[in-house]
Symmetry: C2
Subunit: 345 residues, 2 copies
């Protein structure tokens, strides 16, 4: 009696019932086949699979998730008012990497962007509606409210990048501080004495950490950081060029510079050339890889490689572990960076 009521539904979109009728079994058996339960006889499985093929049946996700309370979907949230961040190779790399890591699984990726408070609320609401099993959040700026908003929603959450404050939350980050330290040590090891730092904005944790690594390397070597040797860029090529000009003005005697991002390093190189300083004979430069921009530089730049692939793998792994309840709410992973010396032209 139940089955004949199904006739009122949309034509062309088969349901479990229809498969069951065609296969001559019950709904439960079809469900078991679809969900790969071992409690099905081989014969039944064959019959059901044939019916599924014939009808081109695909389970209705809404119905399934209504009962299982899973959605098999995770969200990647980009919280950043600046819209050109989309073409930023670092963001692009993260999006791509997460998407690739998920391709191997049954999970699908939902990309959400928050450019203003309105969109932030929409995202928090979306998460609370239970439309995703978990979320990866990229939020760089210290004053961003979204991390708090999402923490309040009862959904597994992993941040991409260490949070600015010391909050208790799961995150994955590159070893920014270690990378900057190694880069600076490399320059000191070359015998340079006046190693400047072209760092990033200090409201970005990556900027803070990379600056801290430079300071530490100098301290370890017994140098005291000279304020004249520090200048802040905005992680862009143009910003890097401008910052390098200021740096040359502040400290004309510098003989090396650690640049806290690759695009800035490209700009810095240009500024150095314009100023008539030879690279690397005159000034040694090490960049910090956001996506290997500097690989195409002339002269080729020694850079700190940022482990994008590793980060995205960890991000997805940690989130899945959290969804499965196998990882704590504040578990963290730091992905090692490494120095890459490129052949000099």
């Amino acid at each position: 009696m139940t089955t004949e009521l199904t006739s009122g539904a949309r034509p062309g979109v088969p349901t479990l019932d229809q498969v069951a009728v065609l296969a001559g079994v019950s709904r439960a058996t079809v469900s078991r086949v679809v969900n790969e339960s071992p409690r099905v006889s081989p014969e039944a499985r064959v019959v059901v699979q044939a019916a599924i093929e014939q009808l081109r049946y695909v389970p209705n996700r809404a119905a399934r998730s209504l009962v299982t309370r899973r959605t098999d979907t995770i969200a990647l949230v980009l919280s950043e008012p600046n819209s050109q961040v989309f073409s930023d190779p670092f963001f692009a790399g993260i999006v791509h990497g997460v998407s690739a890591a998920l391709a191997e699984t049954e999970l699908t990726l939902v990309l959400l962007t928050a450019r203003d408070a309105r969109e932030q609320r929409k995202i928090a609401r979306y998460a609370r509606q239970g439309h995703v099993d978990g979320v990866v959040l990229m939020s760089l700026h210290s004053e961003d409210l979204l991390p708090d908003m999402l923490s309040e929603v009862a959904v597994p959450l992993v941040l991409c990048g260490r949070p600015h404050d010391g909050r208790e939350v799961a995150y994955v980050d590159a070893d920014n501080r270690g990378g900057a330290r190694v880069a600076t040590e490399h320059l000191l090891g070359l015998g340079r004495r006046r190693v400047a730092a072209l760092t990033g904005p200090m409201d970005l944790i990556a900027g803070v950490d990379r600056h801290a690594g430079w300071v530490q390397a100098l301290a370890d070597a017994g140098h005291e950081p000279d304020p004249a040797l520090v200048v802040h860029g905005d992680f862009t090529e143009a910003g890097g060029e401008a910052a390098m000009v200021r740096l040359l003005d502040q400290a004309p005697d510098l003989d090396a510079v650690f640049v806290a991002s690759d695009p800035m390093a490209v700009g810095a190189l240009r500024a150095l050339r314009t100023a008539g300083r030879r690279v690397p004979d005159d000034v040694a430069v090490v960049g910090f890889d956001d996506a290997a921009v500097a690989a195409t530089c002339d002269p080729p730049l020694t850079t700190v490689a940022q482990p994008l692939d590793r980060m995205t793998t960890e991000l997805v792994g940690l989130l899945r572990a959290r969804i499965a309840g196998e990882a704590g709410p504040a578990e963290t992973r730091t992905c090692p960076t490494r120095l890459v010396r490129r052949a000099s032209a």
Copy 2:
């Protein structure tokens, strides 16, 4: 009697029933308030809203979409094996624009990427599962199978970019042909006689159309297109530089060049400079805007502006119309391009 069964559910996630009980009304009334039906008394509305606030109630999407057969979600599908496409400013611009256009609505965006056949199947399946109300598909290459796969799924579909064959499908595209024609006319109007074309790959419809525009402008002016004046790039900066080198070799007497994309134009400019040709005195160049890369060029380039904002607006508008059943399956929109002359340095 129904309500007390609810007790077995997840704690902390309130349902319609619980709101109804707290407000002292029926589920139906709560549903009406949530869905802004006019058939509710002001008093009831107030009581219900208070209960919603108190319980922090948010409707369960799965349950809703199970009955309404809507998901309030649309997918933006990027079908492109090349993974670096993510940082391509054109793609980034489309993603950003669509996302922005949707921010004003109740719809959410799901970004899906297909890099290989496996991912393509996953996407087709996802669409068939009824998890989205419609899809915007960016598929550039002529041999891509995804357009066919998605056409077979009964879901409103709009392509970003004219399909390569003459298939019957809704799409939105820039006026690539018209833009190329105007660019070439501009060069001819400057008095140039040997107007070369640095075009894109011919398996991309944008490449084909821009090339066709150049041919048409020459034909209209009574010139016959000289094969030596044509060379194909790959829409990238490096490709543009290499192509320009070939072009100079093939046709050393060229006095102008229409370049079918901005990044290529930047590369072409560099090649011209290296070859000792002065721009624009010696060789006039017009680029084709993929995301205003050329705006930062030196010398500033006259470019054909591609209406990204317009395209994304149309894309979303057309898809929504299709979802509402207000637009045919093969309705198309072409967004006008225009020539932008930049002040010479």
